[in-house]
């Protein structure tokens, strides 16, 4: 399957881009030590005009390139963590609902319905406004808006698998029902849910940027959304302040989708 994945040029391109972004995120404190929000140069240096600040500086004289590198850290960290929380939580709820059946299933699925009819972004907005803007709160807020899809998928998989013979065998051997659900069935329900992971990560990155654009991100972290929002004040004189972080955002999301597409093709190819 890896070979199939690597045979697709768009998959390789996505993987290379994503690896570069992860490297940038990891290397940010080494390449740009110190506070990326500290003033380091003259204000409003345009991009490509000063070798010390390749992408220029903002209205306070903060290095844009350092901001981009540190922003990659926040974006990937929040996106990845939110997706992890959403998938874990969703799978636990979905597996419990599908395996328990009856009233528990009915009740849990109504809760899933309730989360699905409330626009996820409004829910995230409300959650962050209640808890205050910290990175943890943003991660939970995004996960709250994203856990329903994995929950539904896990439930469907469990409903399909619970009639399988190995489940009946485990039951006759006297295994505890919850052990069957979470040790025997859940791992098998994992692959289709993981196929969703890329979309969830990409959406989480976008939601994080939108939240920090509205000023609801962690004020202590550098975020691309926050940089875009600050650049908005100089939109007439220095549009690059908003355009460049946005390009970084688009590159991140594209690379995730390219990897996901190639992975899906490779998986469907290997099944055939």
């Amino acid at each position: 399957m890896l070979r199939r994945f690597l045979q697709r040029p768009e998959g390789v391109a996505g993987l290379v881009l994503l690896a570069a972004l992860v490297l940038a995120a990891l290397a940010a404190p080494l390449l740009f030590p110190g506070d990326p929000k500290a003033i380091t140069g003259a204000p409003m240096i345009p991009p490509f005009s000063d070798a010390a600040f390749p992408l220029g500086t903002d209205r306070l004289g903060r290095d844009l390139l350092a901001g981009l590198f540190h922003g990659a850290r926040t974006s990937l960290l929040v996106g990845g963590a939110a997706a992890l929380v959403a998938i874990t939580g969703g799978m636990l709820v979905g597996t419990a609902a599908g395996f328990a059946g009856g009233l528990i299933d009915e009740a849990l699925m109504r809760v899933v319905d309730a989360f699905q009819i409330v626009p996820g972004f409004l829910l995230a907005l409300a959650f962050v406004s209640v808890t205050g803007p910290t990175l943890t709160a943003v991660v939970i807020a995004i996960a709250l808006a994203a856990w329903t899809a994995p929950a539904r998928l896990a439930r469907a998989e469990v409903l399909r698998l619970r009639r399988a013979e190995f489940v009946a065998a485990a039951r006759t051997m006297g295994e505890h029902p919850w052990r069957i659900a979470f040790r025997d069935i859940l791992p098998l329900a994992l692959p289709p849910v993981l196929a969703l992971a890329a979309v969830i990560v990409a959406n989480a990155v976008l939601t994080e940027s939108a939240l920090s654009f509205l000023g609801l991100g962690d004020p202590n972290a550098v975020t691309w959304g926050g940089m875009i929002a600050e650049g908005r004040n100089q939109i007439r004189s220095a549009a690059y302040l908003s355009v460049i972080p946005g390009l970084a955002l688009v590159t991140t999301v594209i690379s995730i989708y390219l990897c996901a597409d190639a992975l899906a093709e490779a998986m469907s190819g290997s099944r055939r």
Binding site: R110, G120, A126, A210, V253
Partner: protein
């Protein structure tokens, strides 16, 4: 049509417990916040005595314990009373009714644009999967699908409003222009062009991808070959047979995306300064106005329920095999 009525009744009954969960859930969440609208108001006017705070809370019905407040709130809901917005100094329902039309116009236009253009381009791309046209359109749609709407809105407004001055930077219509009828409609359309594009592009890309996949799938079916064998014209097979079948998953996707679009309109309205429903949510957050935020969440849930119902009915029209 009794079939339609049966579907309507069943779906409405099924949505009651879900709405109850939404009401209870948002109430619990927003009550966990420290400080309420009275605190925010008092700090905005430079402080006040405890007696004043108590009196204000009593007047706005936000005193007492959580259970008492929930009962007051829930009984108000049954009479279509969403409470009082301290920040805007008017009933929540009035505030929402003032702002909702702008957002519905924005979302409706974005949906129409993305749905028609997206499925039309999907028909073209799905005509020959793997062909030049398909690869070009698929690549462009992937790129567009990855662009955050608020940033696209900013870039569009830098290009077309700030630099070229073709479109206004913000607002929903020219203030105090005195325009009426068609002139006013054109004025609003001119103001909404950029926001609608910024909001709709991501869905255009999504519908294109779904339609393309559906077309590619439908062309492989035996009945497509059969239609060709019967000597039907290429156009007729594409539109009447293949596209009609490929449209069904796009319609399903449309229903799924409404909730996302309400969320997207929050940021787009903030970028373009449109006094709409989404901006109301943001104002409620910054003023710590819990009743207003709750009203916004409840009404958006209702909008999602109603549009999903409409999508289901549409689905029944498009595919007679679907039973209510």
């Amino acid at each position: 049509m009794p079939r339609v009525l049966r579907l309507l009744r069943r779906r409405l009954l099924a949505s009651i417990p879900v709405l109850l969960i939404v009401v209870l859930g948002t109430f619990l969440l927003l009550n966990a916040a420290g400080g309420d609208a009275v605190d925010a108001y008092l700090s905005s006017i430079g402080g006040g005595s405890a007696e004043l705070a108590q009196e204000l809370r009593q007047r706005y019905g936000i005193e007492g314990g959580a259970v008492a407040r929930f009962l007051i709130y829930a009984s108000g809901l049954l009479q279509a009373d969403l409470g009082w917005s301290v920040a805007l100094n008017r009933p929540v329902l009035t505030a929402i009714a003032e702002r909702l039309p702008n957002t519905l116009w924005l979302m409706g236009a974005a949906t129409a644009l993305s749905f028609t253009l997206g499925s039309a381009l999907g028909v073209i791309a799905g005509r020959r999967p793997g062909g030049l046209c398909d690869r070009l359109l698929s690549g462009v749609s992937l790129a567009l699908y990855s662009v955050p709407g608020f940033w696209l809105g900013l870039v569009l407004s830098i290009l077309f409003a700030v630099r070229l001055r073709w479109f206004p930077v913000s607002g929903v219509e020219t203030i105090a222009s005195g325009k009426e009828g068609l002139a006013r409609a054109l004025d609003i359309a001119w103001h909404l062009t950029l926001p609608v594009t910024a909001l709709g592009v991501i869905y255009l890309a999504l519908f294109l991808r779904v339609m393309r996949a559906g077309m590619a799938e439908a062309w492989r079916q035996d009945w497509a070959l059969g239609a060709r064998a019967r000597g039907l014209s290429e156009w007729r097979i594409t539109l009447n047979h293949v596209a009609r079948n490929a449209l069904l998953p796009v319609v399903t996707m449309l229903g799924y995306q409404i909730a996302g679009m309400v969320g997207g309109s929050v940021v787009i309205e903030s970028v373009f300064g449109i006094p709409g429903f989404g901006r109301l949510a943001q104002e409620a957050v910054s003023a710590r106005d819990a009743p207003l935020l709750m009203g916004v969440i409840l009404v958006s849930a209702l909008v999602v329920i109603v549009t999903n119902l409409a999508v289901d009915l549409l689905y029944g029209v498009l595919d007679p095999r679907v039973e209510a």
